[in-house]
Symmetry: C2
Amino acid sequence: MINKLEMFIAVAKEGHFGRAAESLGVTQPTLSTGIKQLEENLGVQLIFRGSRYGGLTPEGARALVWARRLVGDARAFREEMRVSRHGLSGHLRLAVIPTALTWAAKLSARFAEAHPKVRFTILSRNSSDILKMLENLEVDAGLSYLDNEPLGRMTTAPIYTERYTLVCHADNPLALQSQVTWADLAGERLCLLTPDMQNRRIINQCFMEADVTPDALVEANSTLVLAAHVEQGGWVTILPSDMARFLSAGKHLAIVPIMGAHVEHIVGLVAPFREPHTPVLDALLTQAAGLNRA
Amino acid sequence: MINKLEMFIAVAKEGHFGRAAESLGVTQPTLSTGIKQLEENLGVQLIFRGSRYGGLTPEGARALVWARRLVGDARAFREEMRVSRHGLSGHLRLAVIPTALTWAAKLSARFAEAHPKVRFTILSRNSSDILKMLENLEVDAGLSYLDNEPLGRMTTAPIYTERYTLVCHADNPLALQSQVTWADLAGERLCLLTPDMQNRRIINQCFMEADVTPDALVEANSTLVLAAHVEQGGWVTILPSDMARFLSAGKHLAIVPIMGAHVEHIVGLVAPFREPHTPVLDALLTQAAGLNRA
DNA sequence: AATTTCAATAGCGAAATGCAATCAATCAGG
DNA sequence: CCTGATTGATTGCATTTCGCTATTGAAATT
């Protein structure tokens, strides 16, 4: 039953029987019969298909919600039993927005101190991908904006609020100012994150409110790329203060606070709501609460 | 997986492999290996046993919570899929405290009007048994006190509040009074529910507060027995007004309100919390809300 | 029209499931 | 300390299920 549901989730996610089968490590016929059996077992057609995947039926969409719940709970159950034997250990998969990657490191560092046997996988993703991955049980938790995207049944733990700063080459005239306004950046050659990132949309919003049309000459999905461009000279970028400090350290770069950057966005841990949580996730949420206080 | 969990739940409930196997319609060896496989699969011992059932291990107790969740959700899932095909139909199992049986009838009558294809099983049980049966998934919902026993993760819908009245033979001198006090009942030959019933404990409490030691000469677990005794003469009983009216109708009995019976207890529908509910249960909760307004 | 893509189906060996029969350990009573 | 009853584990065997390879059939693409 549970493994059939996993198959169903995989097909719904991939939209393709062959790829879904591959992702599960089974052959396509196995997955085909699995779905068929699930449908017969439930007495409902879940997937439209006539020699090709044709989307979920309405019942299939409802079933997907249950399937995720059941599979997620079954994994949490196994996890809890495993932990009760081997102590807090195993693998914690985290998806993190690029601007929060330094905080992810802080979080995992502190966590590892307390629970050295836990391994981490940390993936850089945009916030909407993080939600999708949480839904599909591809990661255990996310580090993302808590106050922006609509989060369904999720547990959250705030960690910090983003404050934006300008990062420019030390030779840039702006580097001499004690602070700048969004309007000051009108003519600058900007280097920003790609628009699929929540962070970029927030910055766009700030420019809009200052009646400035920003000129993003370079777009990237990694803050490292932004900083590297700024170091080359000719470009400037906008980063949360923490990330700005991390990337500019030891380089010929300047950090200038941006006035009127009053829009503060809360970043924190996001995990599927489940009662009780897995022991590792529980420990992680505790750790996040500690970081928030600090 | 799911069926192994069902086995585990059955063993935990029965405290006996043979009986658990019988209750599931499998043989004892099948169940024995089922439990063993579950334990191997999870890597944890769930049940103490050496040629005899010896209770759950600590891990077993934790696992039981998950097992109930998973099995309950799996059933709710199946139910929802079934309903999406055959419309609102099937079997609704209800456990009801004896004093609320007339309300159970009201509830099922109204429900049947709206959803004629749903069959009912209504069992009379005391309130603590109702909670146990809900936990073990033996019933879908209960009709019981909402304000007394500690209910864990449950959905509730209030329906009415109990008000106690004296029921006595019409020839009894008390029948002439417009109302009586708890103290007035001191010398009467009382016929009450057994002490395992919450209702009886509430009545004991009322007597205690009036400094009266009640004299329950007949105890029964059915209100019908109480009324029948009262009709025979010589006994009096105490019943919620609605039940009193129902049982005394057409008989030579009198109903007298009891003064100072200010302790009102809320009775309503109780069902395991689950998101979303099964469609039938959802409809039942709606129906209960309707009854409450009426 | 030829080719490619994609899911369903057939056939087969391996693994699992579930039963009846049996065994081993424990308990109650004499 | 023995004896019969209880209770769960074990064994052996038939049946079913599972998952693979190979193939087919139907659309989509060229």
